[in-house]
């Protein structure tokens, strides 16, 4: 498989270079989208299917759409001012890259986490170790990560970025939307449910759900009224609220922040994940569609 890895690595680097050097905006964005595809393959090769799922859900759905939106709104690339720095910067950067490759390749981490995770997994309430880390051992990280999403939503709301006005794409999109939207809902439910025992989980499920919703929005089949946006905003905020209440509630019960009661861990984790899935889907959709920009005059 070394040939596979080498070809994949070459493709990844090629995509990165194209994404960062093409003057045509669409070329740059398309190369970045393909980079996401190839990177997901490399996560599979690195035995990280959970990460590959997240990359697939985010890279195929939201990121590409977000960058295309920006490419459309930003207009063509302006000519660069000066190129004098380019060569020294390239030398410094390649030196840095070579050094980092050497340092990372020569370091091999002592096995500290693996035995700890293996020993604690039976008490975590779930059997997928990644979910156990994300929602039990290091649930505080995940709570703060959801807080980052919420703050991004607040910033987007503050900026009032131009609301997306989908154009009618005609009746050809109807069969597509009618099949893809329900399947993405089912898929999200499947990923959420199996997250406790196999690769999957709240973020992957939420991102898939958001992708399905985006397809509906783009096909002009989803309502985008002010009330809907307001509801989606509340849904986006609710995930962090549920997580925080669960954190404080678990402390009231067990005396430790995010320490779930014994033998009820799975119920807590699945409940939190279900709330997070909906909230993540709403947040990601809102980050793409944007909020109404109020006119000055």
């Amino acid at each position: 498989m070394i040939a596979f890895d080498l070809a994949l690595a070459a493709g990844i680097l090629l995509c990165a270079v194209s994404a960062l050097t093409r003057r045509d905006r669409t070329a740059s964005v398309a190369a970045f989208m393909v980079l996401g595809l190839l990177v997901a393959l490399s996560w599979v090769r690195l035995a990280a299917p959970d990460v590959a799922l997240a990359e697939a859900a985010i890279g195929a759905g939201l990121t590409g759409a977000l960058f295309l939106r920006a490419a459309r709104r930003l207009g063509p690339l302006r000519p660069a001012a000066g190129r004098t720095l380019a060569v020294p910067a390239a030398l410094v950067a390649s030196g840095l890259g070579g050094g980092l490759a050497w340092v990372f390749a020569s370091a091999s981490p002592p096995a500290i986490y693996a035995p700890l995770v293996a020993a604690s997994l039976p008490e975590s309430g779930v059997s997928n170790p990644v979910t156990a880390v994300l929602l039990n051992f290091r649930a505080w990280d995940t709570l703060l990560e959801i807080a980052v999403l919420v703050v991004a939503l607040l910033v987007a709301n503050l900026l009032g970025s131009r609301r997306l006005v989908p154009v009618s794409l005609g009746e050809m999109t109807l069969p597509f939307a009618r099949i893809v939207a329900p399947i993405s809902i089912l898929l999200a439910g499947h990923l959420l449910w199996q997250g406790s025992s196999a690769p999957g989980g709240a973020f992957q499920a939420g991102a898939v759900l958001a992708g399905g919703l985006l397809a509906l929005v783009l096909a002009g089949l989803a309502p985008t009224g002010t009330l809907v946006v307001r509801g989606a905003l509340i849904a986006g905020l609710s995930g962090l609220a549920v997580f925080l209440i669960a954190a404080l509630g678990s402390e009231a019960l067990t005396g430790s922040l995010l320490g779930y009661p014994n033998r009820a861990e799975k119920v807590w984790i699945v409940a939190i994940e279900a709330a997070l899935t909906l909230s993540i889907a709403a947040t990601l959709c809102l980050l793409f569609t944007g909020f109404e920009k109020r006119k000055t005059s």
């Binding site: 093409r22 669409t26 195929a60 939201l62 999109t173």
Partner: protein, 82 residues
């Protein structure tokens, strides 16, 4: 054997890159990305079959389900702003 076929599928995926870079039209580039998406799904299925990991089917499924989102975004956002 499956390893080799996965490798060929990866090469077929990467073969979309030249068209993506050269274009000439924006539509060409987006269609190239779309083709790379299909190639990735095939590669994932083959990797899953080669290693017997069923989780990869989910990854492939997610890619397949969301493959059209960026294409749709491209067409939907293409029309004039106002």
């Amino acid at each position: 054997m499956l390893d080799f076929l996965a490798f060929v599928a990866l090469l077929a995926t990467l073969a979309a890159l030249p068209r993506l870079v050269v274009g000439p039209s924006a539509a060409d580039r987006i269609i190239a990305a779309q083709l790379a998406g299909t190639g990735t799904v095939a590669t994932l299925i083959l990797l899953g079959a080669a290693t017997g990991t069923s989780a990869l089917h989910d990854v492939a499924l997610v890619f397949a389900a969301l493959a059209a989102v960026s294409g749709l975004a491209f067409v939907a956002l293409r029309s004039p702003r106002r």
